[in-house]
């Protein structure tokens, strides 16, 4: 159909008229982004509505006027105000870093820094913002390579005098990223705040605005020297929570308060007046120190996260052994179970696969799909049998964090050392006490 338009000298964005069966339709030709109906012509009418018309060979087209190209969004310049701390905002893509093409509604474009400052003018009153566009990718496409790039960019920002850093990204694997940055950034002396949006910022109700304001507030004004995620703490626009990067998990597909603190309390809250209230222990900034932030970014890609489910196939381990994996985190049931199958003939014992993997030198860690709580290798006989294979029980560490941690350990240490460190706390991911008030926060 595009060919046909081309023949008629019509391009997307042009104002056109379509004559058909005595009807005349006038409007702007929109791109058809739906693959399911390639023969539909999308017109934007004068009143703002889009309609779809099925192409018919008796239709007559003519161009009324050429379309204007490019939409100019209003901008505001980054300003430098005396006395305000410097905060670097690192953009990586995702809902928060993009804007909608209002005409097509389809293609998301990366928002320009000046446009962001126009939309959220409050930011310029909290800090002198320096914006760095690192890349523009969806969160689910991110890998350890991007995590390393972000860690290096954060280090660079601190080296260049930023007091704190805000990283914006898509929300889906945000908690993996936050965990990765928690391990990769050593000797931190300032806040690193990861944030995003559950609702796109083209709508006036977006959570992006308050999330950004709260995140920049933490970066500019808190004395937290840790990595964490700062997003809405409830469905209301009243409070954001800053949650430790190794303890945070996306617990809802769509709600703005999806990010919850697991087995730990949020470190701090930020209210609408940008007031910070501390709520937990944390590493504090130490004033002016000479030691720069170190970015230890090596990461072993051959690490897997395997979920155990009733009758799951132990042969999965053969696959990972064949592919020369070096680490596997199991999401077991309850306190860290997989089928051991002493009594039930119908069961498929995963334990044989685990044994084989460990014999091949793969580091295997056990976490729980309960998400909340601590694994235990003693309470039941079966747990002891599993433990005897050499699996490391990962205490109260959440599975995703354990996966990232093992990848990072094996990237930087040998298997023996990685095994030793897996159940020891490095970045607040494990603690010895399980407090009453930490459930379902």
């Amino acid at each position: 159909m595009l060919k046909l338009f081309k023949k008629n000298g019509i391009a997307v964005g042009d104002k056109i008229k379509i004559h058909f069966k005595g009807n005349e339709m006038a409007g702007e030709l929109m791109p058809n982004t739906e693959v399911s109906a390639p023969d539909t012509i999308i017109l934007k009418l004068e009143n703002g509505y889009n309609i779809g018309m099925s192409y018919d060979k008796n239709m007559l087209f003519n161009r009324v006027s050429e379309g204007k190209s490019g939409i100019e969004f209003p901008k505001a310049k980054a300003t430098t105000k005396k006395g305000l701390p410097k905060v670097t905002l690192i953009y990586t893509g995702g809902t928060i870093g993009s804007k909608i093409d209002y005409k097509t509604g389809g293609a998301f474009m990366l928002i320009k820094p000046e446009e962001l400052l126009y939309e959220v003018p409050e930011l310029s009153d909290i800090a002198n913002i320096e914006i760095r566009q690192l890349f523009g990718i969806a969160s689910e496409d991110m890998t350890s390579v991007e995590w390393a790039a972000i860690a290096n960019a954060v280090k660079e920002a601190f080296d260049k005098g930023s007091r704190g850093v805000v990283v914006t990204m898509g929300t889906d694997i945000m908690h993996y990223t936050a965990a990765a940055l928690s391990f990769m950034l050593c000797d931190l002396n300032g806040p690193v705040v990861v944030t995003g949006a559950q609702r796109s910022s083209d709508r006036g109700s977006s959570d992006a605005f308050f999330n950004l304001i709260a995140s920049v507030s933490i970066a500019a004004n808190s004395d937290i020297a840790e990595v964490g995620i700062c997003m809405h703490y409830s469905s209301s626009d009243e409070r954001c929570a800053f949650i430790r990067g190794t303890r945070v998990r996306k617990m809802h597909t769509s709600r703005r308060d999806a990010f919850r603190s697991v087995n730990d309390k949020p470190i701090a809250f930020v209210d609408r007046k940008m007031k910070i209230t501390y709520n937990n222990d944390y590493n504090r900034m130490m004033g002016e120190i000479e030691k720069p932030v170190v970015a230890k970014t090596d990461f072993e890609k051959k690490v897997a996260l395997v979920k155990y489910y009733p009758a799951s196939d132990p042969d999965i381990f053969d696959y990972y052994i064949k592919k020369e994996y070096r680490g596997i985190i199991i999401e077991g049931t309850g306190m860290g179970h997989v089928s051991v199958s002493q009594a039930n003939k119908n069961a498929t014992p995963l334990i044989d696969g685990i044994r084989k993997a460990i014999e091949k030198g793969i580091v295997v860690g056990m976490t729980s799909q309960c998400i909340y709580g601590r694994v235990n290798n003693n309470v039941y006989r079966n747990l002891r049998i599993i433990n005897d294979t050499g699996v490391i029980y990962c205490e109260d560490m959440i599975p995703e964090t354990a996966y990232v941690k093992l990848g990072w350990l094996l990237g930087n240490y040998d298997a023996e050392e990685s095994k030793r460190l897996l159940d020891k706390s490095i970045a607040g991911e494990i603690k010895k006490r399980s407090r009453y008030e930490e459930f379902l926060l």
Binding site: G48, G105, S236
Partner: protein, 627 residues
């Protein structure tokens, strides 16, 4: 006040006035579920308590053309907090902007397409859901989902062709539970109930026709049997202007019968504002800048002002020259130019303005204060002034809005969205500036919906046809009153079933379903909750001669209170018809008791005793055949 060359033979000549008028009719549909989720669609009674409340803030975002919308900016400048009441069966995460929309409600689409078909509209091949920016908080997502379903239709009203350029299917907004100048509490039960919007073009020639058009469309919508009824389920917005006036949208006229009055008043208001403009220009009128006059009132006895000052407030004023007597001119019943300016100031959160055409003693403002005020403003005795008091920030915003509106009276009529608010006088007040249109963009969370041939055919079959229905009823019923009531009644389908199945007298059935029902409703009997199939069953009893006409009326009354089976009610309430042999025996026994009584007296006696059980004509013929 205004010169009126537009009056011909005592009738306003709207053509000469350059009258332009179009209607937007919004009607809620009676679907099982909401438009994009599976929540219940009933509007809840005030006694139902929310299970949760959430609070949100919204901001203006750059629109489609990159510019901020004027009405959006205005709303954001008010910085209000929005609270949403969440209800157990009527609100889900989709409603409160915490989950993407589900698939489009097919039932709603079918109803909408059938309505479009009945106006001979061109149905679009593929429906593209759009987001229309709304930032008064009435939608937690800050936009309303809307889609165009039909184009270029028309209806015929009073022999005039009225064009219907577009019809859309959209989400209803939330209802306001309460509001102050800094916050609004919304109920989300109403939110996202399917709603159709039908727009006429601007060629409605006069207010009376506007009313007729609204009535016609209302009738057609009710004919579908698939629209909600009751207060607020249908709303009319009027778009209108006159020559040298401006386009004004009056929102929320809820009573159809008052539409013409609202329009007539708006015409009057615009005429008066135009006349004021000429007077002001002739007088070389001027509006000054806002001045901080707090110092004048530090020891004031005026409670209105001192209340504000006590809390660290401020007083601002500005000069108006050439306005003497004009601020107090009535431009609509009970509304003056001063009221118009005051409504703007109120938007910022003050309680109102004080202007010099008012009696200063009513505010306890002293003569000394007046002298000081005039000195501070640098104005003469014949100049006017406007004062605003409030919290400093609020007062600044308020005085700026007041200056803007006062200054506009030199230009004429401002473009506005107004709200119908005084149903006694049929007048409206300023709500917000007219939106500037750049507020619609595609809803990317939903795929376009193809309108297949099959859907089209189904829609056409369901399409309501006012003329056809009226002709059908006219052929069955003589009473025009009953026809007009039935045509818009939710019982129309039931009426058809009754007369087709039971073959009872249509006049009688129609009368029961309209006038009798109204009468019973008024006497407090809940006839509306009697299921249609029970009413049909009652008519079967009547058709089979088990009950008399009078008995039927009594039966319906009982059915409104008693849900047990009809045969049981007939026995309990002694409503069984006495007929045939039984009636003959009754006549015989009465005769025996009252020997010598005339046939007439005998009939009257029996009727008085058994009015509900005996059919008068049967009694007559029995009396006649056995004298």
């Amino acid at each position: 006040m205004a010169e009126e060359p537009e009056i011909k033979n005592g009738q306003t000549d709207y053509k000469a006035l350059g009258f332009m008028c179009g209607l937007e009719i919004h009607q809620r549909l009676a679907t099982e579920e909401k438009l994009f989720c599976s929540c219940a669609t009933g509007v809840l009674d005030k006694s139902v308590k929310p299970i949760a409340t959430i609070s949100r803030y919204q901001r203006a975002v750059a629109g489609e053309l990159g510019s901020m919308d004027k009405s959006a900016e205005f709303e954001q400048s008010r910085g209000r907090a929005f609270t949403y009441n969440v209800f157990e069966d009527n609100t889900c995460l989709v409603d409160i902007d915490e989950e993407p929309p589900h698939d489009l409600n097919r039932e709603a689409l079918e109803i909408a397409l059938s309505i479009a078909s009945s106006m001979q509209m061109h149905l679009v091949d593929e429906i593209q859901p759009m987001r229309k920016g709304v930032i008064d908080g009435s939608d937690p997502s800050a936009f309303q989902r809307t889609m165009l379903v039909g184009l270029n239709g028309s209806i015929k009203v009073n022999k005039l062709n009225i064009n219907i350029p577009l019809m859309s299917l959209e989400e209803e907004s939330s209802g306001i539970a309460s509001s102050t100048n800094s916050s609004v509490i919304y109920n989300t039960d109403r939110l996202a109930i399917p709603l159709v919007e039908i727009d006429t073009d601007a060629n409605i020639p006069d207010p009376k026709t506007a009313k007729a058009v609204a009535l016609y469309i209302g009738t057609m919508l009710r004919l579908t049997g698939k629209v909600q009824r009751g207060i607020g389920s249908i709303r009319q917005d009027v778009n209108m202007s006159i020559k040298d006036g401006a386009r004004v949208e009056i929102k929320g006229v809820q009573e159809l019968g008052l539409i013409d009055k609202y329009i007539e008043n708006e015409v009057e208001r615009q005429k008066n504002l135009i006349a004021i403009k000429s007077r002001l220009i002739k007088a070389k009128a001027k509006v000054g800048k806002a001045v901080d006059v707090t110092a004048v009132f530090t020891d004031t006895k005026s409670e209105i002002i001192s209340d504000n000052l006590r809390n660290g407030g401020a007083v601002f004023a500005f000069m108006l020259s050439g306005f003497k007597g004009i601020l107090g001119l009535e431009i609509n019943p009970n509304r003056r130019l001063g009221t118009e300016i005051s409504d703007y100031a109120k938007m910022a959160g003050v309680n109102g303005i004080i202007h010099s055409d008012e009696e200063m003693s009513k505010y306890s403002i002293s003569d000394k204060e007046l002298v000081d005020l005039r000195e501070k403003l640098g104005i003469k005795m014949e100049d006017s002034f406007i004062i605003v008091a409030g919290k400093r920030e609020t007062a600044i915003k308020a005085i700026e809005l007041a200056v803007w509106r006062a200054d506009y009276s030199l230009k004429g009529v401002p473009k506005e969205t107004r709200m119908a608010y005084d149903n006694d006088n049929c007048t409206s007040k300023f709500l917000r500036p007219l939106p500037t249109g750049s507020r619609m963009y595609p809803e990317t969370d939903i795929r376009p919906i193809a309108v297949t041939e099959e859907i089209r055919k189904a829609a056409l079959k369901l399409a309501p046809d006012v003329e056809r229905e009226r002709a059908y009823l006219d052929s069955k019923i003589r009473s025009n009153v009953v026809v007009e009531q039935l045509i818009t009644s939710p019982k129309l389908q039931l009426f058809k079933s009754i007369i087709e199945e039971t073959k009872v007298d249509p006049e009688f059935a129609g009368n029961i379903l309209t006038q009798k029902f109204t009468e019973l409703r008024r006497s407090g009997i809940d006839v509306d909750s009697i299921p249609d199939k029970r009413i049909l069953e009652a008519f079967r009893f009547y058709a089979n001669g088990k009950i008399t006409k009078q008995g039927m009326e009594e039966l319906i009354k009982h059915m409104g209170k008693d849900e047990s089976d009809i045969a049981g009610i007939l026995v309990k309430a002694k409503l069984m018809r006495i007929k045939g042999k039984e009636l003959e025996e009754l006549i015989a026994s009465e005769r025996k008791e009252h020997t010598g009584m005339s046939t007439d007296d005998l009939r009257n006696r029996i009727m008085a005793k058994c009015r509900l059980n005996v059919d008068g004509s049967e009694l007559n013929s029995l009396l006649k055949s056995n004298p």
